[in-house]
Symmetry: C2
Subunit: 302 residues, 2 copies
Amino acid sequence: MYGVASLSPSYSLPFLKIMDFKKITIIGIGLIGSSFALALKKQGFNGKITGVGRNEENLIKAKDMGIVDDYSTSHAEGVRDADLIVLASPVGQFEEIVKHIRDKIKKGAILTDVGSVKAGVLKKITPLIPESVSFVGGHPIAGKECSGIHAATPDLFNGAKCIITPEENTNKDALEKVIDIWEKTGAVTAIMSPEEHDLVFAAVSHLPHVVAYALVNSILDVDEHILRHGGRGLKDMTRIALSPTELWRDICAYNRDDILTTLRKFSSSITHIIHLFEQADWDGLEKEFTRAKKARQGIEPD
Amino acid sequence: MYGVASLSPSYSLPFLKIMDFKKITIIGIGLIGSSFALALKKQGFNGKITGVGRNEENLIKAKDMGIVDDYSTSHAEGVRDADLIVLASPVGQFEEIVKHIRDKIKKGAILTDVGSVKAGVLKKITPLIPESVSFVGGHPIAGKECSGIHAATPDLFNGAKCIITPEENTNKDALEKVIDIWEKTGAVTAIMSPEEHDLVFAAVSHLPHVVAYALVNSILDVDEHILRHGGRGLKDMTRIALSPTELWRDICAYNRDDILTTLRKFSSSITHIIHLFEQADWDGLEKEFTRAKKARQGIEPD
């Protein structure tokens, strides 16, 4: 079913397409946006990087830290003359942002994003994008529970996967350029359709986040004061509950159906385990544990 | 409710009680048993440490590595003349082991354990323990997903919590000695009743383990091939699914009722979240996320 999700670590292009861009505008100067800028600068990108955001103080810091070359608090102003525009704000803001910039994007420019949800967002923004602009979706798998420019690093994407989500009518040249720029950051790109991406990441990312939040809350429901007794296992397991809640609210809203599908499967799995406990079926329980352990052993170590 | 679970980092005794022991026998030379031996040796324990287990090859290695001074594959032989006997094998084996050693333990000796479950195990072994032997339960919170002597380190318990679970009739001198020896390993001890311990650790340890296994399995249920797309968040969250399945089967069987209590609360929490998704109640969902994030921020960093 997911055969097209082939990783392409050796995807190579004849030229350094990265140099085709004279100006890159990044909208949303948080962890991902500023790490992307730092990675490009480390790779020798010699065009201009403009940061756009709502928080001027943050943008001034980003300029002082050498993350961006200049900045604007106006979306329309910031995207002027940009060859590549990267949407790096929470996905819930994309529609509003595209409405603001659509008439200001230069012809032939490429619009991309780093959002964790694809299909639902595309449905909203595709009708807004001018024909002269090519959109190519992207999703680097490199979040951290910490956020903001102070957590940024040029190596954030090094060895990380970045999923590129073209549709049938995506401009091939723009697609190649977006793949190229992510590989320049050190990421390993993979191609998926937006729909495939959303189900896969509902399962391997969105569901685990929701479960981490629910796990903390159900421990609080047992007793409000016992969380501190948790060891390293619990800390590792609930670290993603430190993630920005606004961002995850957006992701849940935009990927509602796929997350619901995975939540229902998870709920069935928990119900089954409760049943095994009730029946004192320890052989059955150990079988469940062994299935999970074997699969977990099959994924690459950190 | 859990007021007695006070940590006692400054618990101090007038003498180095550790020196009272001339021979310590550790039954079960895995990660915990051998790290305990190494920690004592690092602290200058100059008595004899005897390792007991079923696997002679492992015991020979432990002697070669300087973890134990001598060893025996016979429980009865190994505990002879020991002042302190530490049960460090999976809890499911405790009953059988105590049956083997009960007539061989010297009068006045202390029997302790490192098991993750207390009340259910005590019910089985208490009637087997001779009156001349003092039992004091212990549980160092220092597991790792890796196991065995090769993962052992003298610093495993350094800064880790160790829960000591006396009952009303527990010998006070034996209790002090067991507290003292754990503090010598670098652990911070806390006192709980066996029942309190079991509910607390059902919530903060056993439930998370069961959830980690269930999470991996429900991702496999969505699609068998997508686990590899998970990022650091999923890896952190499912690392404990690498834990020994036999050990966790035992823990589940011995702490069945408390784990069921916490599993049912967790299941309700998931059902509630599914309901919020169905109603598209994103404010309600963000409230859940915020509650969890705030609580998670309140526990000490790793």
